[in-house]
Assembly symmetry: C2
Homo-oligomer: 294 residues x 2
Amino acid sequence: MGVTVPFKQVDVFTEKPFKGNPVAVINFLNIDESEVTQEELQTIANWTNLSETTFLFKPSSDKYDYKLRIFTPNNELPFAGHPTIGSCKAFLQFTKNTTATSLIQECGAGAIPLVITEGVISFKAAMADYEGISTEVIAGYEHAIGLKFIAAPALLHTGPEWIVALVEDAETCFDANPNFPMLAEQTKQNNHAGIILAGHKRNASIKNSFEMRAFAPVMSVNEDPVCGSGSVALARYLQELYKFEETTKITISQGGRLQRDGHIVASIVKEADGSNSYHVAGHAITVVDGKITL
Amino acid sequence: MGVTVPFKQVDVFTEKPFKGNPVAVINFLNIDESEVTQEELQTIANWTNLSETTFLFKPSSDKYDYKLRIFTPNNELPFAGHPTIGSCKAFLQFTKNTTATSLIQECGAGAIPLVITEGVISFKAAMADYEGISTEVIAGYEHAIGLKFIAAPALLHTGPEWIVALVEDAETCFDANPNFPMLAEQTKQNNHAGIILAGHKRNASIKNSFEMRAFAPVMSVNEDPVCGSGSVALARYLQELYKFEETTKITISQGGRLQRDGHIVASIVKEADGSNSYHVAGHAITVVDGKITL
């Protein structure tokens, strides 16, 4: 392409550099989307080697603040959690916007409302549908994870198709050592993205506090350090299990086994019409700031 | 650490962005090495998720131009090929040095002489020792690669312990589809890093022109896009096979199956004392240029 545009690599779900989940964000706000091909975007995302690389474009209408396209090294995604929060942080910095309290992201999954409160960015999940799974599939996952689940796991459609499973407590979750080849085989057979494993923190000062891990060996990521869509899946699963009757916050720690220290707050929000919506909030910090030559 | 220092992500063995092998280079030329811990450097390299991240420090003596420390996401390396070329490019740009024609890099493997000629950077390999392997081990590798080798493969000690194997021609090499789990098992059993597969280009305009691929599934990299140490290993292997009596250039293409387009020139140089030395040359281009906050 021969152009140089602004670039940031943002660490998400952390306030400390290198403790969260990184996303590369490329500022194409001044490039017409028709000037770049799918292949060019994919090539860049393959080269950064991060779980996701995103591209900020002008939105298709003034209903939205920007359009976001999200790529893994191998394909484009309609939506992803930590890239949405990291890209919002980058957008605010690229546009020197220090006052916005809400934004609308246009992306493959539609319009994603974002709220900015005291440096914390939250998004409303586009989908969080719950589906039971068979005892046979559950047994396969227990075998691959090497632990007994304390409630029936379920399949959560959150963009990625996550299985959510609860274990005894936070320590059990932290100590889990899945058999990754076996887990890859299980998820592949069932067309699932991977498994979100969580355990309640018994002695936490905050109620509904969980340790979480995200395993997706079939997607070439044995363990994702800090996972936004996984936290949506966990919150939706817990709502099915515990039938919270009021707006409820789930605080999640993730990444310790990978020397990360991610913090997510997932909320189950009671809407005026009686329905539930699911929101994910976290900090983000720009670690690499510069330009990229294409 | 709370400091911000210059950062570049350089694409190596290419003149076109995203077609080579990237390395992240962090400029610690103004940071005393004692101020950063091994753990801090490892944490950064784990976060970038690139095959290598390097740190430029002031050298320990004026015999050297700079000191380079090289990290994979999981450990520190005494030496690596494409990171050496990419880091030299970054050093020249960081120090606004447009006239240097030779430099000495200090690194874990000792002093590495570098030559800069018309934008091409070359290094002299610190080691390239040849060792035969058993027919039993060869058979295991043929089975894992799924092809017959046209000469007995060997083990090349080039920093990484590469097996080099030749197949019928460049097309056969390009089309190879190794069984990665089987190859991981073979290399693990034998304590090898992986396998360098190469095939001669029959119709190339340049003599000694090869297609090369580098498979290292045991190091969590099924295929490395463009591999400097692998090209040293190939040149040393070809010297053993063909007994070149004059200084000889081996031109190598690599990365096509990964949508890269890397170009390496590996040279077997006849030294005045009758010994051979091995040199690797390539272009490098800075793709991301900015700062990193630690």
